[in-house]
Subunit: 489 residues, 2 copies
């Protein structure tokens, strides 16, 4: 990986003087770091956050802002939805797997209502309006959405559906700077500052410092070319993100993301993961990735998504991230959207998505056979798919993939096809194994003393599947636990 | 994982006396350990192999015995096949990915001819007869087979096909004890013994012993309840297999294998991987698995393999392990084989497979619609698949998936379907990251001094895809390099 050798720990006895000292030292000022800082400070700890970028925010501040919460949050209730920790847990165990971590999901679902209240107490604004349209994000500043396919096959039969994508109210959606993620991060950082948390920017953690007995007691960082030694009296929290921008780690663990656009910030170089691995920490689910498909669900849901054999493979009314994952992992990233004129027109009218997500058909033909030929599909395949789809669609049915009846309509007349081949991007979901108290776990299963982690440097609630909001959700939830555990260590 | 804490290294200064000493200590007497032992002894090292089972062999001795070799081996030539390291490398880079390790594959292909000669010198017998029938294994003691789909789409267009599955000649195939893997292992172990290699059985390596500077200098093992300390003057070779039987590791890395039959030996508990991880070793491709589908290719190739939407998804004439992988990873292990009476009859006549691989149809019906209904498939889907398949099959074509013309024939009259749902098993392919000289690599990319590894404890030439023989192949090839590197350390 890195040839510098700096990921090896530094022995405490080799630290001459500590330049800085705090009770809890947090690496990374994204959502997990901010949540850890607030909670550690609330516990009475003196907290220092080291952030390699020039300011707080991390990937979180640039994200859409979904926080996956449920079980009956105040926002869900205000929007008229019932939910329970049991329904939330049943959904997550099914949708975040295979391999979903039952202990983490259980803790997360049990604590979700209180976690929402905590976010509100920190000043995160949520507008109690539900957005029910198919979309990646709400049209404006609505606060609640389905963000994981809860109300679509097969999950609608596994658990009572409820929308769980909680969105901080955006002051100006279109600038990005004031998007949902920013409106989550700003109050968290302001809360941290009120509680006395200190931050150092342009300061990159490069090494962990370890006592002879193996306890992590500080970090070595670099700021403007200078080495800074930072003592942590109680604990170190690693919260510096995923390995999405580390090509060697992608090649070793998640090669399907190689050469794809990363949906993170370039600081996500996997350093936190490797720093802890050098102490014997375990890692998990390193092959898993969030995958976005670059198309507005308003279009996807009205058409059929097919692979390069002209076959449908997923109900188009599910969470679009599931379509993206299925496309990248199971269909070799070779997919198309086929839609008729009426469908395109309806989608265009309904869409609130930016133009970049409203891809236009690359091919338009009078017949399915012509279209398949233009698209380069094997003769007869798309035609058969459409024939079967349309036959059942006459009765509003989709026995093949169980798209909900309201979205099922025969596709007639001139047909268009959008080229979705390669139109995916994503970020890595795997990372360090941690306990439900956010202790970093050695491969022998025991906590590494003094070391805590949260956010996308860790394997969280998403083991393979994903829902929008799972990262800001488990990052903030287990980030708080990391801060609390470190403060009490 | 294990709660015992024993995977942490032991400090050399805490070893009172060394019970045993050798230049090179090898953990595991399967194919990688045997190859390492022979090569280290050839280099003049005093070698001690510690094997936890009651005798040598490991998973290798129970395996079918394929060794994936090529580039123009004497056996390939004797059977009339041309091959080159370039063609072999082009195939492996395509078939072992995504994420295939170019450096390892290059070294492997360049050294393949010499490695075959070395096996012959060690006394491994190969009968220079090619077996050309579709099968998991040859009918009798033939020595060469296609074992990776080299002569099927898409690989036949990526590289000049050549059969590369080299099989030690079996003295009695039906007993298992004298199968190909046994006939590989026996001469290797005999060669090791001739070279003075010592072995201790019922001796399980439990800890690595590490000098203060990080160099691995021995192991702590357990034999009949007694702790044994074993000093390695030059190096330790980890060759004790995969993590296929470690449920925690499967849950963290390869959850699709959970609750599936493992195709390995139960000693494959991932201990070697965790022992090295505790020293900061990197791991790679932990999600990858070899997957067998429990059906004779003579049947598969004559029919169509469909998922639970009645769709074909792979050319049925490819390596059956690719069908297994596609079924488990991409079709949720929900697949069926559909075949007509003539196809079943031809397959039955041609098959040399044991009965357990000649599954009988669970459903037989006069029409495709009846069959689909009996199978519980969505109405119309299988019928459409068959209609398209048959239409092109009239002309010997398969434009959908490019099955070779000789195997394409319309499926007519009464149709039968074999239930292949869940009929897969496999073993894990991921493991430690190693250099092309079989040094175990720290997550910082540097070798861990004194520590070497090979076989399925390491990530080898198969990053996701697989070919029969890749494990005995890279296990023996990089096992030799591990032994050589350790002897020279």
């Amino acid at each position: 990986m890195s040839a510098t050798g700096t990921v090896r720990p530094c022995a405490a006895r080799d630290i001459g003087t500590w330049d800085l000292t705090a009770d809890v030292v947090v690496a990374g000022y994204g959502v997990a770091g901010a949540a850890a800082a607030v909670e550690a400070a609330t516990e009475g700890a003196e907290v220092l956050v080291l952030e390699r970028a020039g300011g707080w925010g991390g990937a979180a501040a640039l994200a859409g802002g979904f926080i996956y919460l449920g079980g009956g949050t105040a926002l869900q209730k205000a929007c008229g939805f019932d939910d329970s920790p049991e329904a939330m847990s049943a959904f997550l165990m099914a949708a975040m797997g295979p391999g979903a971590d039952a202990a983490k999901i259980s803790a997360y679902c049990e604590g979700s209502v209180a976690h929402f209240d905590w976010l509100v107490e920190c000043g995160v604004p949520f507008k109690p309006v539900f957005y029910g349209e198919p979309a990646w994000e709400p049209a404006a500043d609505e606060g609640l959405m389905y963000s994981g396919g809860e109300n679509a096959h097969p999950f609608d039969e596994i658990a009572q559906p409820a929308p769980r994508g909680h969105l901080p109210q955006m002051s100006d959606k279109r600038t990005g700077e004031r998007g949902g993620g920013y409106m989550l991060m700003k109050p968290l950082v302001e809360t941290a500052e009120r509680l006395g948390v200190k931050a150092r920017y342009d300061t990159r953690v490069e090494q962990l410092v370890v006592e002879q007995d193996g306890r992590v007691c500080g970090v070595v960082a670099r700021t403007y070319g200078q080495r800074v030694t930072v003592r942590a009296r109680r604990g170190v929290v690693l919260a510096s993100g995923s390995f999405t921008y580390n090509e060697d780690m992608l090649a070793a663990h998640a090669p399907l993301l190689l050469d794809r656009p990363g949906s993170a910030v370039e600081e996500h170089d996997g350093l936190a993961v490797r720093l802890a691995q050098a102490l014997g920490a375990g890692i998990a689910h390193m092959d898993a990735c969030e995958v976005a498909i670059h198309m507005d669900p308003q279009y996807l849901i009205r058409g059929i998504v097919v692979n390069d054999r002209g076959q449908r493979f997923i109900n188009e009314d599910t969470y679009p991230g599931r379509i993206g994952q299925a496309a990248l992992y199971k269909q070799e990233n070779q997919t198309f959207l086929v839609l008729d004129e009426e469908g395109f027109e309806q989608a265009r009218k309904a869409s609130a998505a930016p133009e970049i997500l409203q891809l236009q058909p690359k091919w338009v033909c009078e017949s399915a056979a012509e279209l398949a030929s233009e698209m380069g599909l094997p003769p007869g395949a798309l035609e058969a798919t459409l024939e079967v789809y349309n036959r059942h669609a006459e009765g509003g049915q989709d026995p093949l993939l169980h798209k909900a009846s309201r979205w099922v309509r025969p596709l007639r007349g001139p047909l268009g096809a959008v080229d979705l081949r390669g139109m995916t991007s994503g970020f890595a979901l795997g990372g360090l194994t941690t306990s439900t108290d956010s202790e970093v776990l050695h491969v022998n299963g025991e906590p590494i003393p003094g070391l805590f982690a949260a956010g996308r440097a860790t394997a969280g609630i998403a083991a393979w599947g994903y829902a929008s909001g799972a990262s800001l959700g488990d990052g903030s939830f287990f980030g708080r636990r990391a801060g609390r555990s470190a403060a009490r260590a």
